[in-house]
Symmetry: C2
């Protein structure tokens, strides 16, 4: 692998666990690891409507354990591996507001159970956990670095932040080698397109592929620094370097775009006649909207040299090409 200090020897010899490995980012990581000759055990709860699909790893020689990461059966899967990539999580903002306890159980309690199993079974495994920029909530100042106080604005953000904090507690109190990455909005192949609950990017991609119009609340002036999933996979692998132990790093793009720009770029690339239309804010969305967000990823760049390689136009083009070759993503339930 191109990443500095990734212990590919240990990975190939002892293998790894990828939780959430049937989901969007997880399955892209699995594809990369398998391509590098790394034995992979996938643990995935296959929570309905949350992006997991066995077809995301179709054709790959991987073990798949269909289980919640807090399930006692996961203990055996953790034994002996050199690395654990803990990407499991529920990602729906609105579901977290209608059923807060369920979200806390999926995104916090299960991680506590998982970390306890890991502490018992394999406390020296190198762990990279994925958190989210969503933990920051609505911020006063852009770009956002890791010293910014996190103020999550929905239950999903609260639960994800608690899950991240648990990882750091286990790192510092139990001396387990853990790193957590706060990921910006990610797009690319193998994302569930048929839900409106997984962020705006899969919705936009679906709409332009189908030639439907994209509605932008308030005109879409909010900015986001979107990352192509291959850059995120690079960041996850890079973050397994020893010098990243104990760190929480932002992982975002150096360039941001307004939602309007992203929608218009997608519509133009797709060429299906989709229109981009401004609509007024629905009150329920407005209250949990965070405005613009721009990630300062200077810390991971300085410490590990990671920086995104794929710009938006190229990433969107590759994304559309992928879904045209794999049309089942447009009809998957």
């Amino acid at each position: 692998m191109s990443q500095v200090n990734v212990d590919i020897g240990a990975l190939r010899a002892r293998g790894c666990v990828v939780t959430g490995g049937l989901g969007f980012i997880g399955s892209n990581l699995v594809h990369r690891l398998v391509g590098e000759g790394v034995p992979v055990r996938v643990v995935d709860a296959v929570v309905a409507e949350h992006g997991a699909d066995r077809r995301n790893v179709e054709g790959l020689d991987v073990d798949v354990l269909e289980a919640d990461i807090g399930d006692a059966r996961v203990a055996a899967a953790l034994r002996g591996v050199s690395h654990v990539f803990n990407l499991a999580g529920q990602v729906s903002h609105t579901a977290s507001m209608t059923d807060p306890v369920r979200d806390l159980e999926l995104n916090t309690i299960t991680h506590a159970r998982f970390l306890e199993m890991l502490r018992v079974e394999n406390p020296t495994a190198r762990v990279v956990h994925t958190s989210t920029r969503q933990v920051y909530g609505r911020v006063d100042r852009l770009p956002v670095d890791e010293h910014t106080a996190a103020r999550p604005i929905d239950v999903n953000g609260v639960a994800k932040l608690a899950g991240e904090h648990l990882h750091m507690v286990y790192c510092h109190a139990h001396r387990m080698p853990i790193t957590s990455l706060r990921l910006t909005n990610v797009y690319g192949p193998r994302q569930r397109l048929t839900s409106d609950e997984l962020g705006f990017l899969p919705v936009f991609v679906r709409k332009v592929l189908q030639g439907d119009s994209i509605e932008l609340f308030g005109g879409g002036e909010q900015r986001r620094d979107c990352l192509f999933v291959d850059d995120v996979v690079d960041a996850i692998l890079t973050a397994s370097a020893p010098e990243a132990i104990g760190a929480v790093y932002n992982v975002g793009h150096v360039r941001s775009h307004s939602l309007k720009e992203i929608a218009e770029a997608l519509a133009a690339l797709a060429g299906t006649g989709s229109e981009v239309i401004a609509t007024p804010w629905p009150p329920v969305h407005r209250r949990i909207d965070i405005g613009s967000f721009e990630t300062d990823s200077g810390a991971i760049h300085a410490a590990l040299g990671w920086t995104p390689k794929v710009d938006l136009a190229d990433g969107l083009r590759r994304t559309l090409d992928f879904y045209r070759e794999h049309p089942w993503y447009l009809s998957s339930i």
Copy 2:
């Protein structure tokens, strides 16, 4: 009451709920409220060894519901009251590390259930929630203000912070009038003295009352800004002012002291011959020690005028006097 903008009329007419009202801070708040003619409903889970004791409200005319705050029976207690003081919580750091899931259930999940009940039953009740300075963890710079990124160093801190964040999510997303206070170390009457798990202050008080020596890990150079419980009760009532809605405020003392100074002051005041002895750090404690902590409470002072009135010497004297008049605290299990 002396606090500015406390709606004492509504409190007297409609009453309030105090969760954790049989515990240390809760029962002191209940005494104050009852003294002001406010009808009080106490909700307390009476979790073993966590400070709740019916004798803390002995002689007061209050309703007591012995229930977890997430219990469905709590819904009825919430109806109609003007204020809710949500002080319930488990406070043991070491227990949270041996049973993380239980701590998350007690300090996070139950608050989610409680807030959901409140949203349904009484969403306009004025809520003051108590969080803790413990959410900050080990900080780089003193004093600590609310812009400091929270990095809890044990599971209890993670769970408490998630509980606090849930309150703010309900405030902003559901427009419920909520304020949260991050309390520093608190001491005074009605604290459980017989546990070693509730912070250093009750341990020190017990030891000097019994004439036992106080052992200070590493010599006790760490500083804390301790608050007498009456000042905390003032802060909680003051924070029910309308201008505090949506805020998270630090609540600490303007003056800090080293643990050695506090121990020596207590030993001198008690006059029981207790010695103060430096001992080496036990590794398990060292790993979760945060060093010195000093609270910057400038925000609540600027917004609401609250400031502590009781200095350490006076507070410690009043504390020792109370326990001498109520010796059962030294033998309570």
